[in-house]
Every structure is written in structure tokens, then in C-alpha cells.
Amino acid sequence: MPGLEDLYREIVLDHYRNPRNRGELPCPPARRAEGFNPLCGDEVVVYTDLADGMVRDVRFGGQGCSISQSTASMMSVAVKGRSLEEVEKLERSFKAMMSIVTDGGEVAPPADLGDLEALRGVVKFPVRIKCATLCWNTLTESLRS
């Protein structure tokens, strides 16, 4: 049986208690997207400010469980200042870590996930995977909008 310590790692709880990049960005120029997890009612809003194919700034808001909120915080740190290509690579590696196969089943290219590595244990709690991927899907939507 997976233990709670696999899920609630210290870094995860730290991002939950002290979220980074929480807030809003003026739209436009920033883009805004909302995501919902119909299962548990979690809501996340992601703001992205793009310039020259780079994520110049990112903010997130919303309400949700420790996993969805801490993932959003860690994700914001990981993608800030990255190119769209790098962001896509991060997303694919993160989802691979959640055992979600993206785009035709190719193995995700390795990427340095930084703090996000601490979420590796989520995969042992299948119902929580959606909590961890919600902000990534919302980020993608905001980048595409």
C-alpha cells in the first residue's frame, strides 16, 4: 500500500502552503484559461504572458486540493522564462511521470522537472492524477488561445 508520505512530500506541502506565482496578469496582453476537475470541483486559472516564443510571465489562481494547487505552483516556476518548445517537453515528461501517454505513444523526451519530481508518488494514487494534470491542461489551453 502506498503511504501518505509518497503523496504529501515536504516540497509538495511547501508549495501548497507558500504558492509561487499565485495571482493574475492583465489580459491582454496576457492570455487566460480556466480548467475544471468535475470530479472534485477543483478550479484553476492560468495566465500566461508570451513574447518571442517565450513564456515571459505566468500566474495562476483558483481553488483546489494540495496536489492541484502545489502542482500549479511548481509548474509556474518550471515554465517561467522557457520557450514554448521547452514547455511542451516539460509537459510531456510530467505527464509521462503520471503514466499518461501523449501523442501517439512516443516516449517523452527527458526533461529536468525540478521540484515537480516530488510529485512522482501521485501516480500511486490514480484518482489524484487528474488533480496533478489539471493545471498543465489549462496551461496548454492558455498557450493555444
Binding site: M1, G3, L4, L7, Y8, L13, R17, L39, C40, G41, D42, E43, Q63, G64, C65, S66, I67, Q69, F125, R128, C131
Partner: protein
């Protein structure tokens, strides 16, 4: 209080299992109840010795299958105090029962500009079918609000009833446990010529039910929350209303005659039961009704109420300010459904930690998003009790909540 659980717990095989090596503490009966051995045996016995399709076989076991189904219908008739078995329509669940009323009664009786009155504490099953109908017919949906104690605020009932053709509301909230003054609302609705649909999904399993005393015109409920199997539910309706309604779904069983030109619908109740019914589930639900009647629904209600009072008292004593329990403070005004918040810990995290202690509670919006919005939350954790729970289950919950505090509390 614990006497009932002491007598019934052993009847429920699932409750003897472990979770992660600890005895299971099942506090999610508002989502679905556990099933007693008698129900499992009835369904198993049906498949082993009776199984045949109903209503048209002229051979022995087909005849027994048909009888078994119609005997179960009679049990349900008596369980809710219906005047005739023709008023008991088997459907899949409470959701389908509400949809049946929306499609069949709603489409026939509602016109553009008519209003349907709902409440802020409804389950999505009693909201979405009306949204769908409103989009189709251009009818208006109105909402009875709640007060701060989680009770329906009836101060503007008269005004809200103006132009209303149907009042559809829950007889017991699946989030707050609130039992509204059903008769009072039904009488006020009838005075205005409106029809009353009660969502009895939570009420019927827990409170003695008599449709005449309740004063409703339709009552929807699910078998799986009252010790019966999944896949079977009931719509009770007053016979003259059901008679005047067109069929819901078309197919076998629901016809008297079919030609290339058209069809003649069957009599009640089969008019509303298209296709091969869930025969084994009907039999299982009949056994569940026997089981509950054997205990006595007054005893069920007494047990729920005293256990709820115990939970409200002990949880509040132990956890103080950190714990907020929604819904009426007075146990007599509610069922054994306790939605709560614990500090600012998200419901999902609460239930995850409780799971480690084999305590099963639900977390989320409980299919009542408009109510979540009224409460100003996105989700709650919810513990709910039934006949097999006792004070030790509440104590386990209480203790496990301390672990939530340890993990997520102020550092």
C-alpha cells in the same frame, strides 16, 4: 442507539472486510449503502433457480419470474404507502425517475412562460433535467433559497409560487441532511394548482415514507441507497397523473399492440417500462424492502437521529473551531449526512488522509454545485451514516481527523 448496528452489522458481508489491514469504517451510505446477505441471496437465488424473461412466457419459470417481479412491486407499493401497484414504475435510479417526469409530464404539461420551482439544495439529478427542458420549452426555473442554518427559506414561497406549474425538491439534502417542511410546501404548491415532485433518494432509505402524508404527486428514489442493488429505482406517481402521461421510452413491454401504422401503449405501470426490466435487481430491491421493514423504518430513523446527534456533539467537542459542519444544528431537522470542512484543508486531502485509516468518506461537490456556491465552497468532505454504523465509527472518524490536523495543520 448502538443496538441496531450490533444487530445488523453482521448481515452485511462487506463490512467484515479490511482496508490496508484495518477494519473498514464505512461512512458513505449517502452515496450508496452496503447490501445485506438477504439481498445478495435473493438475487443469487433468482439467477440460480428462476431466471427467465418476464410477462410473455407460458412456461413455469417464466411465470415464477413474473410473479417475483410483481410481488416486489407490491412490496414497494406498501413501503411508500401507494394506493396501487400500478403507481410503482421501475426505472434505473432516481435520476431516471426525474427524467421520466421531465420528459413525459413536463413536455405534455408545460408551456412557454410556465415556471418550475426548485431549491438551492438540489442534487444535479433534479436540476439538469429541468435545465434541459427549459432550453427546449422556454420555461422559467426558479429557486427557493436557504437560510444560514441550511434550511429552506420559505419567507417568499407564496411569491415564488406565482405561475409555477411544478415544484420539484429534495425531501432530504444529500449534502446538508436538511429535511424541509415537505407537507407545507406541497400544500402551498397545490393551492396554486402546481404539481409536486419529491426527490426521495436520501429520504426514502432513512425515514418512514407515506406518499399520502407527504402530499406529493411524484416520488423518485434509488434502490442502491436503501440496501438494494444498483441499476434499479422507482418512480411513484399518482395514478391519474400517470394515466394522462405519454410513454417515456418506446419498445417491448410498454405496448398493447404494434402495427406498421402505430402502437397502443400498455397499461400502467408497464407503459413506462420499455424493454426487459432489471428483474434480478427488482427482486433484490424487494428483499431490501423486506429487510428494512423487518427492522422497522421508525427504528431506522431513530438510530440515524441519535447517531447524528452523537456525531454533531462529539466531533464539535473534540475539534472545536477547526471543524465546520454544514446543515441544521438540530438533529431532528436532518438526516445522518454530515458535510464538513476542517480548517482550510481541501476535502480531497481530508478524504485521502482518512482513507489511510480505512475511514471512507466522500469528497467533492456531491453533485450539488449550486449548493456549493451558496455555501461559498468548492467542495466538502461528507460522512453519512446508516443502520450498520455506530458510535465507534464516529470515534474512528474523529481520531482520523486529528491525523489531518497533524499533516496539514499550522506548522
Amino acid at each position: 442507539m448502538s443496538d441496531l448496528a450490533a444487530a445488523t452489522k453482521a448481515d452485511f458481508p462487506l463490512l467484515s472486510r479490511d482496508v490496508y489491514g484495518k477494519p473498514i469504517v464505512y461512512l458513505d451510505s449517502a452515496a450508496t449503502s452496503q447490501k445485506p446477505q438477504a439481498v445478495l441471496d435473493a438475487m443469487d437465488g433468482y439467477y440460480r433457480t428462476v431466471n427467465a424473461n418476464v410477462h410473455r412466457g407460458a412456461y413455469h419459470i417464466a411465470d415464477i419470474a413474473t410473479q417475483a417481479m410483481e410481488e416486489a412491486r407490491a412490496k414497494l407499493q406498501h413501503f411508500v404507502g401507494a394506493a396501487s401497484p400500478r403507481e410503482i414504475i421501475f426505472c434505473r435510479n432516481a435520476t431516471e425517475a426525474v427524467n421520466l417526469v421531465a420528459h413525459s409530464w413536463g413536455r405534455t404539461n408545460l408551456r412557454e412562460g410556465d415556471a418550475v420551482l426548485l431549491t438551492h439544495m438540489e442534487h444535479h439529478a433534479n436540476i439538469v433535467p429541468w435545465h434541459m427542458l427549459a432550453a427546449e420549452l422556454d420555461i422559467e426555473l426558479r429557486w427557493l433559497p436557504l437560510d444560514n442554518d441550511g434550511r429552506l427559506d420559505l419567507r417568499n414561497l407564496d411569491r415564488l409560487l406565482d405561475g409555477v406549474r411544478l415544484v420539484a425538491f429534495s425531501a432530504m439534502s444529500n449534502v446538508l441532511g436538511t429535511i424541509p417542511p415537505i407537507r407545507r410546501i406541497a400544500d402551498a404548491a397545490h393551492e396554486r394548482g402546481a404539481v409536486v415532485l419529491l426527490d426521495g433518494a436520501q429520504y426514502v432509505p432513512h425515514v418512514p415514507t407515506d406518499v399520502t402524508e407527504l402530499g406529493c404527486d411524484f416520488l423518485a428514489f434509488s434502490g442502491h441507497k436503501m440496501c438494494g442493488p444498483t441499476g434499479i429505482g422507482v418512480l411513484w406517481g399518482r395514478e391519474e397523473l400517470l394515466e394522462a402521461m405519454p410513454p417515456f421510452m418506446g419498445g417491448g413491454e410498454m405496448i398493447l399492440n404494434v402495427t406498421t401504422e402505430g402502437f397502443l401503449p400498455n397499461e400502467l405501470p408497464w407503459k413506462f417500462e420499455a424493454g426487459t426490466p432489471a428483474i434480478a435487481e427488482v427482486v433484490g430491491l424487494g428483499a431490501a424492502v423486506d429487510y428494512l421493514s423487518g427492522i422497522g423504518m421508525e427504528a431506522v430513523r431513530r438510530h440515524d437521529t441519535s447517531l447524528t446527534a452523537y456525531a454533531l456533539r462529539t466531533l464539535t467537542e473534540r475539534h472545536g473551531e477547526r471543524l465546520t459542519i454544514h446543515g441544521p444544528a438540530e438533529p431532528a431537522a436532518r438526516g445522518g449526512v454530515l458535510s464538513f470542512e476542517y480548517g482550510d484543508v481541501h476535502a480531497h486531502d481530508i478524504s485521502q488522509v482518512l482513507d489511510e485509516w480505512a475511514v471512507c468518506v466522500r469528497a467533492g461537490h456531491h453533485c450539488a454545485k449550486p449548493l456549493m456556491r451558496c455555501l461559498g465552497v468548492v467542495a466538502t468532505a461528507r460522512a453519512s451514516v446508516y443502520i450498520y454504523n455506530d458510535t465507534s465509527d464516529i470515534d474512528e472518524l474523529s481520531e482520523a481527523l486529528d491525523r489531518v490536523g497533524d499533516l496539514f495543520g499550522p506548522q
